[in-house]
Symmetry: D3
Subunit: 243 residues, 6 copies
């Protein structure tokens, strides 16, 4: 275990990693985005299906849900394949529930109509922050799927009210750090994931003391930094979508 | 769905429900606490085992973990029994991971020695806030188990550095509400769970927009209220433990 | 392993342990009973649902079923949580089938109408005889649920023809012993569970040689004793129900 | 549902069905018996393995266990394959536990030495009484496996103290009926399975009221009849084994 | 591991083992065949059900499917029971898919009508070639089931266009060997299973290099031999069916 | 369903689709190849682990195994996620067994030493022929992993004796077609997958009649065509590897 704080490959403490958002990565899905946060790469597809889960049937309203997975060799050492193991791990379920909630918060289900959008977020390569990359990429894939629905004439207006993005922040010693890579993440005392909207509001705040508890002042400092990162990410999403 | 905000059975918006902490509820466990937050009742037992999980073997250090369950008829309508269904739900795993992390944050694993404390939190009756009641009760059960270890002469000093407690807060319209019951919880726009320590620091902050996103100012207001609630709960834990 | 027969905490060989039947233990269930046979404590809830399993649909007749569980630390050393293990053990399924059969034997399904009563029997603390305590407590919970159905005006008369109770007997050396606690149960040569009705008839007889086979005469002696114990239990059920 | 009691294919009420015990039915197992109780046919194999379960390791003592299965089309209408369904049913586990207990009751584990005999009882054709046929056939297969161990010089004397057999009895109206076939079994008010030894003692007694509860006198009558049946079955086992 | 090639119990390299086809082995199934390829014995039952899987509903067409299993002690050393293990192994699924495809290839689903034939192939004793024996036996069981449907007047003509049979061939050194037993199978460099029809056409060809890759000429030699074996097997099927 | 045979996007009946082999697609794996057969794209990673399965421990020999998966939206309509469903489908297991066998056939396990190479083949986009693309890509990833082992100085020579590749062929009417895409595959009467080596030998031949059985002459024609395709694929592998 190294003792010097990680070097962040030259970026400043409050800078995002190199972000790339590649649309139309695969051809079958209604939205398909390969998103990169540094070395973390997640394939996010949005699938439109003309059916809804039981609790929405007959309501005239739609639904948005998410699933998350990681290829066995996305990580430094090979992990067990969940399909072989026979069940998804608790961590997997927790992440896919977070992605689903985050996207649902910006959808108008009446405008979507009685259909479902499923966001599959599969990590091809992992280097920390897979859930924040997944949310950020899934938002772009969902946007494309909504445009496709409008182009098909199935809905008259965009049911997605605004974009949503997510970023991690951490506290290592006295330093606040934005968008942690894997090496930083495992050294931080506190790790926080924040999901926010294009208009500056918050959807989820999840902060966890990994070592010592954190103070209220530290909490405030981490949220300040996260909100600046989310604003930058939304700008990059817009650029990719040309909107 | 009712439209008037719930009446809170006469308590103020920033008041806790009636809290009861009954120790020694069952006889076999090294710590056994029946905790009540209003009508929510959770049986928390602490079991000491002289073995640790593989990643701690030979380290001289101990481990603390938690499991969570809900009796099928703890709720208003009967839920499916997880043992029959053949797996724990994602929500169950998420809660038991939270309880485990919260308790580990106040433990000195070297002082505990190479043994494990398992905290079983089983909900006998549910009315909102089962995870916060579980953390608050499990802390008392863990404390009793540590006292038992010291009384047995297995360890010279208490490996639990301080107490930990948890509470929920919510935002309903313009009102901040402390310690939500089930009826309130399902009406709130934002729901937050905060875990904190006896000395006023924070371990976990989890806030989720159920409906509309929330502002930074609202986030700050909810955390203020949660910290006051945690301080009250720690006082009640101390009273129960006579420390 | 101790060689002296257990002391039974002062009671005679043909005496029941201290029996307690506490109704209305939880608030959501239509019947909720905490039953104690000495240190064995089982929470029995009866849930009424307006649906029946497929083989009863459209028949005009109802159904009664049971599920059984044990909290991980109900026992002296912590057991594995069945929900985590991913399946119910054979012993669990065997016991819940026994409870269901025993209760169905005293029900008039036409009088119940096309609805189901589910009896959840969860062991909070175990000291031998959990299945007999569960049957005895479930009968009281079921009775309360039937009274609730009548009070609601859903059925005109009680579909439960009579009460049912159960007790264990064992053979240790030459002694017949009633209502075995855990220490006795593990020392007995033969262990028998008998389920009977308020009017003195039998529903289930299950006797097993744990060590040496038993003679016909010994079988007869054990059943004699069990029938006396069942009569006492029914009197206590009536007292609790004030009928 | 027919109303006339079944005809029993000409046999008297207290007569067994045609019993056949064919040894050496398959070639790999140390004991292999195809047993027939009328149309019920069960293949019982005894497998000797030089290992014991954890609770017997290092004890110098052996173990006997059983598994039970039914081919999907052993029954009148095809049943689901348990291997495909992904788990054994409660009924299957209950039966294999009964078979295991019954055989263990006649074994001297010290004489067997630290090895295990597994009895696989697979129903090729079912017509009622599969568990009683399985126990009766498994006893012969176990005996052959013990002879094989002695012939191999691995043990000096037979660890199986005596033979064990099992039979069902039922009460239909006022008639006691021995060795029920499927048609009778589904019409009986009470169904009982009794396991006994060659010297006339009892190992298991399991009686269940299917419809109305039964009286003590009826219980006694059923056990009388079962004990006569067991004596006949032991004679047929001896004839098959030429002992 | 022995080095001399196995002796084949006296038969020539291009001779089948002793083949036996016993019809009506069990009484409930519409077709029931015990097939033996030397010491390999498989019970093949054909079950007719008046329902089809979802993709055939309302089509007026039928379906044929297969399931495969092996009794735990069918083999030289006892294998784990798949029902206990909780899932079918990949090998089991692969074999039952092969059996199903092979039989479907000779069926006219319109002539069968909207009903399903399920072929259960359960290995009672294994000595190599269980899948080829299963296909060969299942074809006879399916033929009997079709005759039964015609005898019942449910269909006017046989929906099974012709018989199908299967055999293995192997390459050991320079020798082509027909119908491998277990000892040969484990020594062969290449193992091939061929499924063919009564009129000489092919349904499946599956050849696998176990050790060194094989040449095109060797492939041709193996298929030549397999086709001769299939013709012999079809003659034996006809003899058993008296057609 | 269209009746005109598919157009193959302009290529001739015996031409491969556009093949692309991109090495070093991800950064953690010792070999990482994105292979494309037309629109079919499979990510093949080779992971070296210094451990072997139980049957190889202490043998001084290595092992090669494979796992296969498909992202839910790799296909035209979204498929269920196997990790969520709780088990791999029979088809998945069959394919990963085929990939593993194919690669093992060209490995010298003594030269590899006691370590394992796991080949993960995950389909990002599917358009027919995923198993043949997976084998062809996995061979290149395995070759890179072997070069890495040599570069690390862990082994002195390449344990992979030669390259291996695979292709499908089909029979549609009278036409033999190489490297079927999804539309062709679903229309073909016979579908065959052939795995071969760089030196022209064969490892696996799997031909299946989807509709009518096929003749021996047709089998020969399909294998001729497949062998030409394999030779072309090996040339492309060599070009990618610059060997």
């Amino acid at each position: 275990m190294q003792n010097t704080p990680p070097a962040r490959e030259g970026r400043g403490l409050s800078a995002l990693r190199a972000i790339a958002i590649e649309r139309h990565f695969t051809r079958h899905a209604e939205g398909s985005v390969l998103v990169a946060f540094g070395h973390t790469r997640v394939l996010c597809t949005a699938s439109v299906e003309e059916r809804v889960p039981p609790h929405k049937r007959g309501s005239g309203q739609g639904w948005v849900t998410a699933e998350y997975g990681m290829l066995p060799r996305a990580t430094h050492t090979r992990g067990e394949r969940e399909a072989k193991r026979g069940k998804q791990q608790g961590r997997t379920e927790e992440i896919q529930r977070l992605i689903g909630r985050s996207l649902r918060a910006v959808f108008d289900f009446s405008a979507l109509g009685e259909r479902q959008i499923t966001l599959d977020c599969d990590v091809l390569q992992a280097d920390g922050g897979t859930r924040t990359a997944a949310i950020t990429g899934a938002a772009v894939a969902a946007w494309d799927a909504c445009q496709w629905l409008m182009a098909q004439g199935r809905i008259p207006q965009n049911p997605m009210r605004q974009l949503v993005a997510a970023v991690s922040v951490g506290l290592l010693g006295d330093d606040y750090r934005l968008d942690l890579d894997y090496a930083e993440d495992s050294q931080c005392d506190t790790d926080m994931n924040v999901v926010g909207t294009a208009d500056g509001a918050l959807i989820e705040v999840q902060g966890t003391a990994e070592g010592a508890p954190f103070s209220r002042q530290q909490l405030d400092g981490m949220i300040d930094l996260a909100q600046r990162g989310i604003a930058e990410l939304v700008a990059l999403q817009r650029q990719a979508l040309e909107i």
